[in-house]
């Protein structure tokens, strides 16, 4: 009961929603970059939300199902094909033994997720199956997937299902190659010069090639801060937007360091972090400032929607 990576793609790995409780020892949560995509397909398949999935970039892996299995894909649109037939995202699909899943072209987004019914089995470390590349633990031997890797299913992946099981459009993240993401203010945002503040909130930033699971380096109008800022290192989080000494920005992503000492200009609202996660080098992003209360309300709304979907899917299975 497994899938086999026939041809490894670019920087593909096994991830779940990450490991919590170890930041104080320098071990960050890690986990999927696009949490919305992983949660949605897991809920759809009747899995726990934090079931392990495969995260892939383009070019993605060629994946062979070694057994009959129900599965779903979500996140980026990479032109998925099962045995040469186009298959859609965000719906329950059936693979028979030896069928092959390929991704033909990057249509939209940067990361695609594959989950199977029952979830994937992989190395667990500190309560999570996410791959931690620094520690070389979790996932498949703590590393990116390679040709011929075999990933077992954690449960019974086959079964009966209704063809109509599709996630409604209103629940899907609205991916874009130039999104406006909502942010809350960072502790040093008010230290920006007035020109700097205007540029931060009103001009677009390009995602550079120097962007990966640790963080996204942006390029835009250089920003500057009034006077000297000396900051003692303290905790940072996924979505923290830091100002580097050259005036450019870095947005911390899933595999970020647990602490940082650069000025913090803002924090991407957690509901919009999946939009960031789907950006590829060359894409653009703009920032829109909201209050912490608004960001909390958005997170609450999202949570309610997911709970409803979960209840409906549990019933349907």
């Amino acid at each position: 009961m497994s899938i086999r990576i026939e041809k490894a793609g670019l920087a593909a790995s096994v991830q779940d929603l990450g490991r919590v409780g170890h930041r104080s020892l320098g071990i960050g949560p890690g986990g999927v970059m696009d949490r919305a995509a992983a949660e949605l397909i897991n809920i759809l398949l009747g899995n726990e939300r934090d079931a392990a999935v495969v995260e892939m970039h383009f070019p993605a892996c060629d994946v062979v199902f070694e057994n009959d299995a129900l599965f779903a894909i979500g996140g980026a649109d990479f032109g998925a094909e099962l045995d040469g037939e186009k298959v859609g995202r965000w719906r329950v699909l059936r693979a028979t033994a030896d069928s092959k899943l390929c991704f033909e072209e990057r249509v939209k987004g940067a990361r695609v997720y594959l989950s199977v019914r029952g979830g994937l089995d992989a190395d667990e470390w500190l309560g999570s199956r996410s791959t931690n590349f620094a520690a070389e633990l979790g996932g498949v031997s703590g590393r990116f997937l390679r040709d011929r890797d075999v990933i077992k299913f954690a449960g019974e992946a086959d079964g009966e299902f209704r063809k109509s099981m599709v996630i409604s459009r209103s629940l899907l993240p609205i991916y874009s190659s130039f999104p406006t993401v909502r942010i809350t203010s960072g502790s040093e945002m008010d230290r920006l010069t007035s020109d700097g503040r205007a540029a931060f909130l009103e001009t677009p930033f390009d995602l550079t090639n120097d962007s990966n699971r640790l963080g996204f380096r942006l390029k835009g109008e250089p920003l500057s801060i009034d006077g000297e800022v000396e900051i003692l290192s303290s905790a940072v989080a996924a979505g923290t937007i830091q100002l580097l000494p050259d005036g450019q920005l870095v947005v911390l992503m899933a595999d970020h360091q647990t602490t940082g000492g650069y000025p913090r200009l803002g924090h991407v609202a957690s509901v919009d972090l999946p939009l960031m996660a789907q950006l590829a080098p060359g894409d653009k992003v703009g920032f829109h400032l909201i209050s912490v209360e608004q960001a909390e309300d958005l997170a609450m709304e999202r949570e309610l929607e997911l709970n409803k979907l979960e209840a409906a899917c549990k019933f349907a299975w």
């Binding site: 104080s24 320098g26 290192s233 905790a235 609202a269 912490v292 909390e296």
Partner: protein, 221 residues
């Protein structure tokens, strides 16, 4: 006190590297972990601050009258901090000895010369006092320790090395630290140790935790 996004709050106790501030930060962090509020996820102490991460939905569920989980957590952190102040226990910290081979410090000679002292003098000053683990960050198990004697403080390298070997002992300003993995790094390297800072299958998985003391011992000495 400030929000680090909508699901974390940082309380700053000061803006200096001081043992007293750090002791309070670690005490507050322990207090949160030992008596978690509803929705608490984890706490991260740093030099002079504590960040509490929480689950917005769980905090709001436990406090249905509030319009902001962050406000609830802020109030919680404030009251705990106030309650903490008079009774910070000065528990004897754990001291860890680390054997260092100072012949494997590529920057040591230049560093001693820039301080106007000999290499043995540099080593003697460096190993003379134990250092406090203020916080852990950068990498799993990387301990930010200090403070070293002002007369051997060193600036970061202008161009960081692309690869610093695992176990390297570095200095940046008045801080010292040991690289747990081969990695890029900008601290000046004065020696190397065989000790494993990261031991993933043990509990805890790192040699140091915040608040520990570290004593460096010269293997050649």
């Amino acid at each position: 006190m400030f929000s680090l996004g909508e699901n974390a709050v940082t309380v700053e106790l000061g803006d200096a590297i001081s043992e007293d501030l750090n002791r309070r930060a670690i005490a507050l962090s322990h207090d949160l972990a030992e008596r978690p509020f509803a929705g608490f996820v984890e706490a991260v102490p740093s030099y002079a601050s504590v960040t509490a991460f929480f689950d917005v939905a769980a905090v709001r569920r436990a406090n249905p009258w509030t319009s902001s989980a962050c406000e609830v957590v802020r109030a919680e952190m404030e009251s705990r901090l106030a309650a903490l102040e008079p009774c910070v226990v000065s528990e004897e910290p754990r001291t860890v000895e680390v054997l260092v081979d100072f012949s494997e410090g590529p920057d040591l000679e230049m560093a001693a010369a820039s301080c106007g002292i000999s290499v043995p003098e540099f080593i003697e000053i460096f190993t003379a006092r134990p250092y406090r683990v203020f916080m852990i960050g950068f990498q799993p198990g990387f301990a930010y320790m200090g403070q070293i004697n002002e007369c051997i403080s060193l600036p970061r390298l202008a161009t960081p090395r692309l690869r610093v070997p695992k176990g390297s002992v570095g200095i940046a300003g008045r801080q010292t630290g040991i690289y747990p993995f081969d990695s890029p790094g900008g601290w000046q390297l004065i020696g190397r140790t065989d000790v494993e800072l990261f031991r993933p299958l043990e509990d805890p998985p790192t040699l140091f935790k915040p608040g520990d003391m570290c004593r460096f011992v010269d293997v050649g000495g």
